[in-house]
């Protein structure tokens, strides 16, 4: 037997004896648009008039928006109600060509993968197949999506037996049967703690769900009602869009639809390349840090280098932190790309269409098994904890290109606030139903300062325009979560600057009328800012999770109303409730059952500032002071403005003098760059801080201590000890020490 023949036999054997079809890296790591097929070329030859194509596109775009409205209306998940979804049309090759105008745009680069999996593995598999009337679903992020709380559903659209496209929707559904309720478990230590794990799966045929599979899915989650409504809403929306595609085929012909989908992708990519060409060539480097894993404090480096050359942009994250094998803060590469696409779709070129070709001219470089390119072994439910800061790393670099660009589609901004500061909840509601989900307040991220004006307060999350923070009365009606303070702007929570970032808000939550209720939180940035100012603007401050246990605030309201306070600083500084326990924490809170009337308090962060604080118009400082946005301390010590504290009247002479003095002090503090570097730079990261990522050399990765390293091309994943074990060990040591001391005393 010859070598080739032997090789062929081995290959055949391996192909026929696959244990199971796990995530396909070839699909998952490729974000390019599939090359034009002969069928598409033929269609483009038959239907080529750009104006006519524009009409067909408009019709299909309207259909996407219509089905988006349907999912939003019919979905029961809080995420669906505020638009944490998109609906769209995929080509017969699986590329997302058109998507709804609203919703979470990260998905526009992330939804192709499960469709391509279906095409590659199930279409010709005799046990599965792909035919008219089939319904496919998927939620495992390792096959696409952001995390397992997102569920997608697609339908194939055939015309005379020919596969034309897919229609469908993807929604952040919330509860998914994970180790913690709500679908985003920060306690997950492996993918098997992350709940439902649907690889792309056929869940229905002949336009009907299979009852046995529906039952299995409902049985796997805490909210079977939610699972049912979520599936139905996506299905009927996809059906509506399928009908619209069929109408377009009837009106314009099948070639028109095929040509329009392809041309939409081709034209979009060409436009992005044209726009990139307007940027100056060159490299820009940024570094950002995640300050924890949601279980423990540490410093996770995200190293970013943008290299723009011609019509291409390379985003290089090599040298960033290793993956955490037992923490869920690791994105799969595709999720990272989705988040980066968001920067361009929402913050650089918001006028571009929503499809995956927007990101096609970008190249992303990462180290395998890094925290930004995790393996299938690592959990990813909280991948946002590293890909949000990665987004920021790019966001604060891009203005440096845009400043010299001949084309801009919107304002230049500093860093938008980037964390989902809200409560996730789980428990039994006032009607006896088991529920678990996330509050919509995460959508109030503070807007970044602009080049010519301040940022807007708590305005929109970085991943969706027109998202909603909801109405407290409607939330209370469904769950026993009572916000004593739902959204109150937090004083001084801004990125200071010539133009300041928008503020975030504080929330004080408790609960009543329930036998079991727990809170969770999943944000970083309590020790080190997660977003930043630019051109001299400040990063917003860091803010902790605060708790008051051992109090029933409803009893206080009833009997000792004079003790009531309505801001976090007042409660934490004045500690008005006798006998209660006050504490602060980082904002990674795993499910913690609370008692009625106990307080959980968090604060949404602000946007980054733009420009030098000493250049801020004193009148704007005065207005912010009078509106309660900044304290007199900030007025005097940050902005160096002097004013009448009662009226806000600015003393211009004193202000000019104070600012001049500060400038002189700055000069005195200043030193030549090489001197600064000499003083500042060290050979290795400090031992006192658990540091993850490269230090000076991006090919050498530190694993939490100066003595523990690995090469970037052979990363050894991190296994973190359980913080409870560490605490027990610490307490046992203290106990041992005390016993020793006590023994001595005895």
């Amino acid at each position: 037997m010859g070598g080739d023949q032997e090789k062929s036999i081995i290959e055949k054997f391996l192909e026929e004896n696959v244990l199971f079809l796990g995530p396909d890296q070839e699909i998952m790591e490729d974000h390019s648009v599939v090359p034009t097929t002969p069928r598409e070329t033929e269609a483009l030859g038959q239907f080529a008039d750009p104006d006519q194509i524009n009409l067909v596109r408009h019709k299909l775009q309207t259909a996407c928006n219509e089905s988006f409205d349907m999912v939003e209306q019919m979905g029961a998940a809080p995420g669906a109600k505020w638009g944490d979804l998109i609906s769209g049309v995929w080509t017969a090759n699986g590329d997302l060509a058109l998507a709804s105008m609203g919703g979470v745009l990260i998905f526009s680069v992330l939804t192709q993968h499960p469709v391509k999996f279906i095409l590659k593995y199930w279409k010709d598999d005799p046990t599965v197949g792909l035919k008219d009337g089939d319904i496919f679903m998927h939620n495992d992020a390792r096959y696409g999506n952001i995390h397992n709380t997102d569920q997608s559903l697609v339908l194939p659209v055939f015309h005379n037996g020919e596969l034309i496209c897919f229609t469908g929707a993807i929604v952040h559904e919330g509860e998914n049967g994970a180790i913690e309720p709500g679908g985003m478990p920060s306690a997950a230590e492996s993918p098997f703690d992350e709940g439902l794990k649907m690889s792309p799966i056929k869940v229905g045929e002949n336009y009907a769900f299979k009852r046995d599979i529906m039952t299995f899915l409902q049985n796997s989650v805490r909210e079977p009602k939610l699972q049912l409504e979520g599936m139905k809403s996506k299905f009927f929306a996809a059906m509506r869009m399928k009908a619209r595609v069929e109408e377009a085929i009837a009106e314009y012909g099948v070639a028109a639809v095929i040509a329009t989908l392809r041309k939409t992708l081709t034209d979009t990519e060409a436009e992005v390349r044209r726009r990139l060409t307007c940027w100056p060539d060159g490299k820009i480097r940024t570094n950002v840090f995640a300050d924890g894993t949601l279980r423990e404090n540490c410093l996770i480096r995200i190293r970013c280098e943008l290299h723009k050359k011609g019509d291409e942009l390379i985003i290089d994250f090599r040298g960033s932190s290793p993956e955490f094998l037992n923490r869920p803060n690791n994105p799969v590469l595709a999720s990272l790309k989705g988040m980066l696409a968001q920067e361009f779709l929402s913050f650089v070129w918001p006028d571009l269409p929503r499809n995956q070709a927007v990101f096609a001219p970008m190249t992303v470089l990462t180290d395998r098994r890094s925290a930004l390119h995790s393996s299938a072994d690592a959990p990813n439910a909280q991948s946002m904890m590293t890909f949000f800061p990665s987004f920021t790393a790019v966001q604060i670099a891009v203005p440096k290109y845009l400043y010299s660009s001949s084309h801009r589609a919107t304002d230049i901004i500093a860093g938008w606030y980037n964390m989902i500061v809200t409560f996730i909840y789980g428990g039994v509601n006032q009607y006896g139903e088991l529920v678990g989900n996330v509050c919509a307040d995460l959508n109030g991220m503070g807007g970044a300062a602009r080049w010519n004006r301040d940022g807007e307060h708590s305005m929109a999350p970085i991943f969706a325009p027109m998202a909603d923070i909801g109405e407290q009365e409607l939330i209370e009606e469904e769950v026993p979560l009572i916000k004593i303070v739902p959204h109150r702007l937090m004083q001084d929570a801004e990125g200071f600057g010539k133009f300041r970032g928008g503020h975030g808000y504080q929330q004080i939550a408790t609960m009543k009328d329930t036998s079991m209720w727990g809170f969770m939180c999943c944000s970083i940035g309590s020790k080190f800012p997660t977003t930043y100012g630019i051109f001299g603007g400040y990063a917003p401050g860091t803010l902790p999770l605060c708790k008051v246990k051992g109090v029933n605030v409803f009893e206080i309201m009833k009997d000792k109303r004079e003790l009531m306070r309505f801001t976090i600083p007042q409660i934490m500084n004045e500690r008005p409730f006798p006998g209660a326990k006050y504490s602060t924490h980082h904002m990674g809170l795993q499910l913690e059952f609370a008692k009625p009337g106990e307080l959980y308090m968090i604060t949404q962060g602000g946007g980054g500032g733009y420009g030098d604080v000493l250049e801020r118009d004193p009148e704007l400082v005065s207005k912010d002071y009078l509106d309660g946005l900044i304290s007199i301390l900030s007025v005097n010590n940050i902005y160096r403005v002097l004013m009448d504290e009662k009226t806000g009247a600015v003393d211009y002479t004193a202000t000019t003098a104070a600012r001049l003095a500060e400038r002189e002090l700055r000069k005195a503090r200043g030193k030549p760059y090489h001197e600064f570097v000499k003083e500042w730079e060290t050979e290795a990261p400090p031992a006192a801080v658990p540091f993850y990522g490269s230090w000076k050399d991006r090919s050498l990765i530190y694993r939490g201590s100066p003595d523990d390293t690995c090469p970037a091309d052979a990363i050894v994943p991190i296994m973190m000890p359980n913080p409870k074990d560490l605490r027990i060990a610490q307490l046992e040591a203290e106990l041992d020490a005390m016993r020793g001391a006590g023994g001595a005393r005895a």
Binding site: P50, D51, I53, N54, L55, R57, K59, T62, N65, E66, Q73, G75, A80, G102, K225, L228, E229, S233, F236, R240, D267, T268, P350, D351, A409, T410, D411, I413, Y431, G432, E433, N443, G447, A448, H457, M459, A460, P465, M466, A467, G470, E471, E473, L474, E476, E477, E478, I482, K483, V485, H487, R488, Y505, M557, K558, R561, M564, F566, L626, D627
Partner: protein
């Protein structure tokens, strides 16, 4: 019937006068400095046509009905009073933050998606004029923190010191238990009684909006307080002018709920957008009178294109959370979809798609289209219509506005032809095609998203710009019949003349008809029946206050129902005013199921997830005498004689077509004009595209039919 109906628009004040079987339509320019002047001029013109004096007419009419834009103007000009807001402590930032998404409410898709460029509107209530009251009511209506009188007095004093000219009191869960809002009102009144000159008006949120959602309810109350004074003074001064001219009855104000009421029973908020809603109400009337069960009502003006629906199943479409200017409110309005498209929509070449795009940016009426020569340099829909020959350069808008074709050509050449390489005519055709397609898509979505098939509808086209584009957008929708209704140029005023006195009261509640978790059905009907009774009583009070006979009052019960925890609340007209048996519950469930399936598709219903009623709404009304417009059945072989011919170009026809132009007076009832043709009236132009024909009806109504 003797009735005066007036609708004030941005440019024209329209008057429709019904007098002993005679119907007269007139217009006058809107006089923004004093709306009464334009009002009286339009009325005077109508009286002249009747050969009577204004005093004679006003002294004998049974009603003057008035649709006003005063409120809208006050919002745009931001000249309302300094409002002080008292809200639940901890909720002080709810209004400034506008549910986060508020930055984009009332804006186009493109503006909403541009986060870096987005700005919230200038607030109606300054942050420093918002104070927290230490009180709290929970979702059930239980007071968990009572009102402290001293605290209220302190906070009120802060607002007064800040210069408050109006108070809004909006406390959490006040719609379930309004006791705290009333208590705050009592305390304010004890400090600032109403009988003194410096009395400050107080608006309580639960009296303005009956449904849960603290932000949008608060904004409803804020808008009410903001507009109250100006509306009151404007209306009162108009009433004085009417009285000076012999009118003795109370004036009736058109509401955006498809009803009307006297000034003493009208909230300022209810008058916003009342004109377009009156137009839809006229469409309802035409539907019944002309036996056209399904109508898509389209109203195209210079800067707007409103779409509304009348359906055979009688479903009432509401916007429960309408956006007024930039503010989300929770006062139910008759649903109309405004599309930012009109004659002023700006066209541009889109490099991305190598195609022509139109809108959403608009040149409005100032500077207006390039052809107006008022400084507008960008090509608009009107410019394309001029270039394509549809509009007469020398007789535009009856000669009231002078236009220049050369300016229109230059704008299109500069901004479309140069970058795209198209010829002038190709570019103008592309603009027309895209405008029609945009309108068709918007109509399609509006109809389809509610579960109807547009092909089963007739289009009603009114407003100055409608008849030029009607063939275009109807054709793209596959709709082959368009009705230009009688008196189409004053259609909203006509609608106002046909409305009933009507009041809507609603209340949020949490009433499970089927609890999926416990697998139980509603057996206790007390809450349902008591709530309906309470809302009926409030409606009755409103109408009786206006002198209505109790026996004439009718009611309609509507329920907002939902499956599980979905967002979708479908408004169901209840066949029952009271629940008495389990069969009644099943009847409601069935009715909801039918409505839901109609909208989202059969099988989409999810009763397994539970069914509940979220809002009960009672519509109380008194029917008024209707106009008597009938559809013409006349047909004549006689042919109208064109006044001229000119070359026109059409999107789907290669070469220019020599097109007959008719004066509307030459086309009599029953005559048919075959396209391509143009019929010019002083207020609009009917474009009959190739393949279409027009048959003239009564009162300048016409049918456009695709052959």
């Amino acid at each position: 019937m003797r009735r005066v109906s007036v609708d004030i628009g941005g440019t024209f004040t329209d008057c429709f006068l019904a007098f002993d079987g005679q119907y007269v339509e007139t217009k006058a320019l809107t006089t923004h400095h004093n709306l009464a002047s334009g009002f009286m001029e339009a009325l005077q013109n109508a009286c002249l046509e009747l050969g009577r004096t204004v005093q004679e007419v006003l002294g004998s009419v049974d009603a003057v009905r008035y649709g006003t834009t005063l409120g809208t103007n006050a919002l745009i000009q931001r000249n309302g009073p300094l409002v002080g807001l008292l809200t639940t402590a901890g909720f002080e930032s709810s209004v400034p933050l506008m549910r986060a998404r508020g930055y984009g409410d009332g804006l186009s898709d493109a503006e909403q998606t541009d986060l870096p460029g987005a700005d919230r509107p200038i607030p109606l209530v300054k942050m420093s004029m918002i104070v927290g009251i230490q009180e709290r009511v929970d979702y059930k209506g239980t007071a968990v923190l009572t009102v402290d009188e001293e605290d209220v007095r302190t906070q009120v004093r802060k607002l007064v010191d800040g210069g408050a000219q109006a108070f809004v009191v909006s406390l959490v869960n006040a719609v379930v238990n309004p006791a705290h809002e009333r208590e705050v009102e009592r305390i304010i009144l004890s400090e600032y009684p109403t009988h003194v000159l410096g009395a400050i008006p107080i608006v309580l949120s639960h009296r303005v909006a009956g449904r849960k959602a603290e932000y949008s309810r608060t904004m409803s109350a804020v808008l009410d307080a903001y507009l109250h004074d100006q509306m009151y003074h404007g209306m009162s001064s108009l009433e004085i002018v009417l009285r000076q001219n012999g009118y003795k009855r109370p004036m009736l104000l058109v509401h955006n709920t498809s009803g009307m009421a006297q000034l003493n029973s009208t909230h300022a908020l209810q008058t916003i957008h009342s004109g377009p809603v009156a137009g839809l109400e006229a469409s309802n009337y035409i539907s019944a009178q002309f036996k056209l069960p399904n109508i898509i009502a389209t109203d195209m003006g210079g800067t707007s294109f409103d779409i509304g629906l009348v359906t055979a199943d009688g479903v009432k479409f509401y916007d429960f959370n309408p956006v007024i200017d930039r503010w989300l409110v929770s006062s139910p309005m008759t649903y109309l979809h405004p599309l930012g498209a009109g004659g002023g929509s700006i066209a541009r070449y889109d490099r991305l798609w190598d195609a022509v795009e139109v809108g959403p940016d608009s040149a409005g009426s100032d500077p207006g289209p390039a052809c107006y020569g008022r400084g507008g340099k960008l090509p608009t829909t009107t410019d394309a219509n001029l270039v394509l020959g549809y509009l007469d350069e020398h007789n535009y808008a009856g000669g009231t506005i002078s236009v220049s074709k050369r300016r229109a050509e230059r704008a299109i050449e500069e901004h479309i032809c140069k970058p795209s390489g198209m010829t002038l005519i190709e570019a103008a055709k592309a603009i027309k095609r895209k405008v029609d397609a945009n309108m068709a898509s918007a109509i399609f979505k509006e109809v389809a998203v509610k579960g109807y098939n547009p092909k089963h509808f007739v289009i009603l086209s009114y407003g100055g710009g409608g008849p030029i584009h009607a063939c275009g957008y109807a054709g793209r929708l596959g709709i082959h019949k368009v009705l230009i209704p009688p008196f189409s140029s004053v259609f909203s005023a006509l609608g106002a003349g046909n409305m009933d006195a009507l009041h809507i009261h609603e209340k949020s509640l949490y009433l499970m008809l089927y609890d999926a978790t416990k697998r139980t059905m509603l057996e206790d009907f007390v809450v349902f029946n008591a709530t309906v009774a309470e809302l009926e009583s409030r409606g009755r009070e409103d109408l009786v206050r206006q002198g209505v006979d109790t026996a004439a009052i009718k009611t309609r019960v509507e329920l907002d129902m939902r499956y599980g925890n979905q967002l979708a609340q479908i408004s169901v007209t209840s066949p029952l005013a009271r629940l008495q048996s389990m069969q009644d519950v099943i009847t409601l469930l069935d009715r909801f199921s039918v409505n839901y399936a109609q909208r989202f598709g059969e099988g989409s219903q999810a009763p397994e997830a539970g069914v509940r009623i979220n809002v009960i709404r009672v519509v109380s009304y008194v029917e008024h005498e209707r106009l008597n417009l009938v559809q013409s059945t006349a047909s004549t072989p006689a042919q109208a004689v064109p006044t001229s011919h000119r070359e026109c170009w059409f999107p789907d026809v290669q070469d220019g077509q020599m097109t007959a132009v008719y004066d509307y007076r030459a086309v009599s009832e029953g005559m048919t004009v075959v396209g391509p043709a143009l019929i010019e009236t002083p207020r609009t132009t009917y474009l009959i595209e190739p393949g279409w024909k027009l048959t003239m009806g009564l009162n300048s109504s016409a049918w456009l039919v695709k052959e």
